[in-house]
């Protein structure tokens, strides 16, 4: 009986959470932050490198990237209306004035700890119970990585990338920029020049990482950009599941987030990368919000390697993001599961690339777009089967759901097959919510708004079921919040 009561109480709180409606991570933490003046030039790049005490080769890497970036123009091919961005009015480095690598929880600024508690990121005890190792990145700097010692016993390295540069320079040097070159695109070049921190994960041969690894990104300071860099290496036969979450305060100006994620998967290794992206999307009239221009790519280098991307995209004013798999190893597998929700004036152009180079490589793409309000939601995906990649298989399904007559849902698949023994399939549908289903729910006393939530969750279930448990609950709630007020 008591259990039942508890359960119904819990349900109630979920419903309360779910219908809270507004962006609940929009607070600003008043902590002492070190922000450098706005603007970008070689001195800034040198300054960042010096502040972080980086070796010469990394500074060279940054400078090369910066010089290349100067020759590039902002890409305009996406189905997005991106206002001019003044790259000289952004501050490229902001860090909480805490010691960069605190030895224990006591060293962490209490205000900072409270922030992460508020976000529901327990950096402390409760973390141990839930068994997730967390790396929290505030503005530009990684503030705390939990659970490190236990991971170290297995040889797993999980730390901020600045620490990795110091402690494991050979590993970082070997892999940094091998998947996403600084020449890759405009934002990759920018990130390579000014990246400030991020996470580094190395899983040694034959190790199955016993817990989920997680990074939590938070932009706090005003007028700053966040440029983090994540590098994950899974050596032969290794396995890791990695989670990423992000939030930002509510501000009237737009803030830029340009990250890079690089993943290397060796023979028979497997990496699962899950994202719940909930950057501040701007207010109902489209003011403010994060510009989320991210380059994510994994290289399945080994035979029988596997990389799986799962993303729930609910935040950001503008999203430009294509987590991709380069399937280089024979029999390698790439997966991409995505739910992208846009409401109000949000815009998203997201999808994936599956580049089949290895023989018998396989890929699956499932993308679910939901657009409401005045938003624009595009799926853009490329599947390429190289000439020698015989026996490959790809299946793509991308569905779009339209919840208002002022929003847009678009599909841009690019399919290039260069041999005879591969099979590539693409399917897409676009429609609005089935009125019969709505009517059925209404008839049974479920208000339209809840009914829409129900249907949308069912629609997205295929992707949600791929998320790790902790994230699935959060993502489901997020989905509901994001669509709040979009019906009727």
């Amino acid at each position: 009986m008591k259990e039942q009561k508890d359960k119904s109480k819990k349900d109630e709180s979920i419903i309360k959470d779910a219908t809270g409606g507004d962006y609940k991570y929009g607070f600003v933490t008043d902590i002492d932050t070190h922000v450098i003046p706005v603007g970008l030039n070689e001195d800034v790049v040198r300054y960042i490198s010096r502040t972080k005490g980086e070796p010469e080769w990394l500074l060279d890497f940054r400078l090369k990237a910066f010089r290349h970036w100067q020759t590039l123009a902002m890409p305009r091919w996406a189905h997005l209306d991106i206002p001019e961005i003044d790259y000289q009015s952004i501050s490229y480095y902001a860090a909480p004035k805490t010691k960069p690598s605190p030895g224990s929880m006591d060293d962490v600024d209490p205000e900072l700890r409270r922030t992460f508690d508020k976000l529901g990121i327990p950096l402390e005890e409760q973390m141990r119970l839930s068994g997730v190792a967390v790396d929290a990145v505030m503005d530009s700097v990684s503030v705390k990585t939990t659970y490190r010692d236990r991971l170290a016993e297995l040889g797993v390295i999980f730390c901020s990338i600045s620490e990795a540069v110091k402690d494991y320079p050979d590993l970082v040097k070997k892999y940094l920029g091998t998947v996403v070159s600084y020449r890759d695109n405009f934002f990759a070049a920018l990130n390579s020049a000014v990246f400030s921190d991020g996470s580094f994960v190395y899983i040694p041969k034959g190790v199955r990482c016993p817990m989920e690894l997680s990074t939590y990104f938070r932009i706090n300071a005003a007028n700053t950009g966040q440029f983090e860099r994540t590098l994950i290496v899974a050596d032969d036969d290794a396995y890791v599941s990695y989670l990423e979450g992000c939030t930002a305060p509510m501000r009237d100006e737009n803030q830029l987030h340009a990250a890079i994620v690089e993943i290397i998967v060796e023979d028979r290794a497997e990496v699962k990368y899950s994202t719940v992206q909930n950057w501040y999307p701007g207010d109902k009239d489209g003011n403010g919000g994060i510009y989320n221009f991210v380059t994510k790519r994994g290289l399945c280098r080994g035979d029988f390697s596997k990389l799986s991307w799962t993303q729930v995209e609910t935040g950001s004013a503008i999203t430009w993001k294509y987590p991709s798999c380069v399937l280089q190893g024979d029999n390698s597998i790439g997966e991409f599961y995505s739910v992208a929700v846009t409401n109000n004036h949000q815009q998203a152009d997201t999808g994936t690339k599956m580049i089949h180079i290895g023989k018998n490589s396989r890929s699956t793409i499932v993308s679910k777009g939901i657009s409401a309000g005045f938003s624009q939601n595009s799926y853009r995906g490329a599947v390429k089967i190289a000439k020698n990649a015989t026996g490959c298989r790809n299946f793509t399904q991308c569905d779009s759901l339209l919840l208002s007559d002022t929003c847009g849902a678009h599909t841009f698949p690019y399919i290039d097959v260069q041999n005879e023994s591969s099979i590539v399939e693409h399917e897409a549908t676009t429609s609005k919510i089935n009125e019969d289903q709505l009517f059925y729910c209404n008839q049974r006393g479920i208000p339209t708004e809840d009914a829409v939530g129900l249907i949308v969750n069912g629609y997205a279930k295929e992707v949600m079921s791929k998320l790790p448990m902790e994230f699935a609950v959060e993502a489901q709630k997020l989905l509901q919040i994001s669509l709040e007020g979009s019906v009727g």
């Binding site: 091919w77 189905h79 779009s400 339209l402 919840l403 208002s404 007559d405 002022t406 929003c407 847009g408 849902a409 678009h410 599909t411 841009f412 698949p413 690019y414 399919i415 290039d416 097959v417 260069q418 041999n419 005879e420 023994s421 591969s422 099979i423 590539v424 399939e425 693409h426 399917e427 897409a428 549908t429 676009t430 429609s431 609005k432």
Partner: protein, 451 residues
């Protein structure tokens, strides 16, 4: 430097000959075309919607342009007979781009129907041609602008309001020249309100040892509740490069069928731009391509639903053998306010050999919620199990493959709305797959293929 420049220079040097051998609206459209081409270049490989196709390369060779309208051969109407059994048609010819009516063609036309040389029409039916010529052909498309700059003749088809044409119109396009030749062909087709017509167009090449560049622009206007079928069969030669652009506008209730079939070619790029301007329109856009050797077939479609209740059914199928390259890029756009749109787009391809390459890009842009849209694309091989099944039952592999490929194409043929043509197409596809590379449509008694 863009290969456009050589044509601009040629035009500037011969402006009097170009205009003198043409008339009215064709000449008055040249100025804006020239402006549109100023400093422009043609799409190259890798440009959006031209992922595997470079028009710069296609236009680069030094082709001759017959600006002085020298008669390059005998009257084709006397020499050729391109028949579809059991089908009686009103037959016309475009010899390169010069118009010739077939025997007795004019006698069998219903009252009010005009089918004549576009040049003559621009002079004699100036008000009609002025009203429609160049209105939907976009100068932003550089190959279209180039065609507008140089086009001197072509065909004009006008079916007045309420007229139902029993007999299909058949147009035989023939390329023939002793030296490499660029032909700028222009077609203007106006189907009035409640009118009904069918048109069968086939492209042939004589003197196959010569390279041709066939630049073609077709403008089709379909009035309210008009019904129009357009079948375009390309059966040319390895040395023939075809760059063709179709612009179509449909008014309310218009029902169109456009079927582009590439049986034999060298290089082909077809653009289909359809504007469903009125409500309750219906469009069937089909395509079928068979390629072997180093042939290149690229179809690009843009269907724009601008009003309520439109319906599109789009299907393109390719069979690619040897080292051929196929490309399909299709876009269906549903504009705000175009509710109750139903649009289906499908692209299915078979790569039958190791060297074949297929590029597919089916796209949807939807800015309206009450719609049903879907698209699909698949690229693969013949069903190995079906093949095995057939061989097990004593059908030789070669034949079994043939049967499967024919079956693959069957649903495009099934969409054809003329029974006699359906049978003909089945036969043509069969003989094409049977390895009959040099002649396909000409088992009929004509001599097109024998020269």
């Amino acid at each position: 430097m863009s290969s456009i420049n050589q044509y601009i220079e040629l035009y500037k040097e011969n402006v009097e000959a170009v205009c003198g051998n043409s008339a009215g609206a064709l000449n008055s459209a040249r100025r804006s075309a020239l402006e549109a081409l100023d400093g422009a270049s043609l799409p190259e490989k890798g440009d959006e919607d031209y992922e595997v196709t470079s028009l710069e390369d296609v236009f680069a060779p030094d082709y001759g342009v017959n600006v002085n309208r020298i008669d390059l051969g005998a009257n084709p109407a006397e020499a050729f007979r391109c028949d579809v059994p059991n089908m009686s048609t009103c037959m016309y010819f475009l010899f390169n781009d010069a118009f010739h009516p077939g025997k007795n063609a004019a006698n069998s036309l219903p009252e009010g129907v005009i089918i004549k040389s576009l040049k003559d029409a621009a002079a004699e039916n100036a008000d009609l041609v002025d009203e429609y010529y160049g209105r939907i052909a976009s100068p932003d498309c550089k190959q279209t602008a180039l065609n507008t700059l140089l086009a001197q003749d072509g065909i004009f088809v006008y079916v007045p309001d309420g007229v139902v044409m029993e007999k299909p119109i058949q147009l035989v396009n023939i390329l023939n020249s002793g030296t490499p030749l660029m032909v700028n062909r222009r077609m203007l087709i106006v189907i009035g309100n409640n009118a009904c017509a069918r048109m069968l167009v086939c492209d042939h090449t004589q003197n196959c040892g010569v390279d041709y560049l066939n630049s073609q622009v077709v403008e089709i206007y379909a009035g309210e509740n008009a019904v129009f079928d357009y079948y375009d069969i390309e059966d040319s030669s390895t040395g023939t490069n075809r760059v063709s652009s179709f612009y179509v506008r449909q008014q309310s209730g218009a029902n169109l069928m456009i079927d582009g079939i590439t049986l034999m070619n060298g290089f082909t790029r077809n653009n289909y731009v359809v504007d469903l301007a009125g409500s309750g329109t219906e469009l069937h856009l089909y395509g079928m391509a068979m390629a072997n050797g180093r042939r290149h077939i690229d179809n690009h479609t843009v269907v724009r639903h601008a009003a309520k209740g439109g319906r599109t059914d789009e299907l393109f199928k390719y069979v690619l053998d040897e080292n051929s390259v196929g490309s399909f890029s299709g876009l269906i756009q549903v504009c705000p306010g175009a509710e109750k749109t139903e649009a289906y787009q499908s692209n299915k391809n078979i790569c039958a050999s190791e060297g074949a390459r297929m590029y597919s890009k089916p796209q949807l842009i939807i800015d309206c919620d009450d719609v049903k849209c879907s698209h699909g694309s698949s690229t693969g091989q013949l069903d190995q199990q079906a093949l095995f099944y057939m061989r097990q039952r004593g059908i030789p592999e070669h034949e079994a493959r043939l049967m499967l490929m024919q079956a693959f194409m069957n649903d495009v043929i099934a969409g054809v709305r003329m029974e006699a043509l359906k049978d003909r197409l089945r036969h043509l596809v069969e003989s094409r797959f049977a390895g009959n590379n040099s002649a396909s449509c000409r088992s009929c008694s004509s001599t097109c293929h024998k020269q």
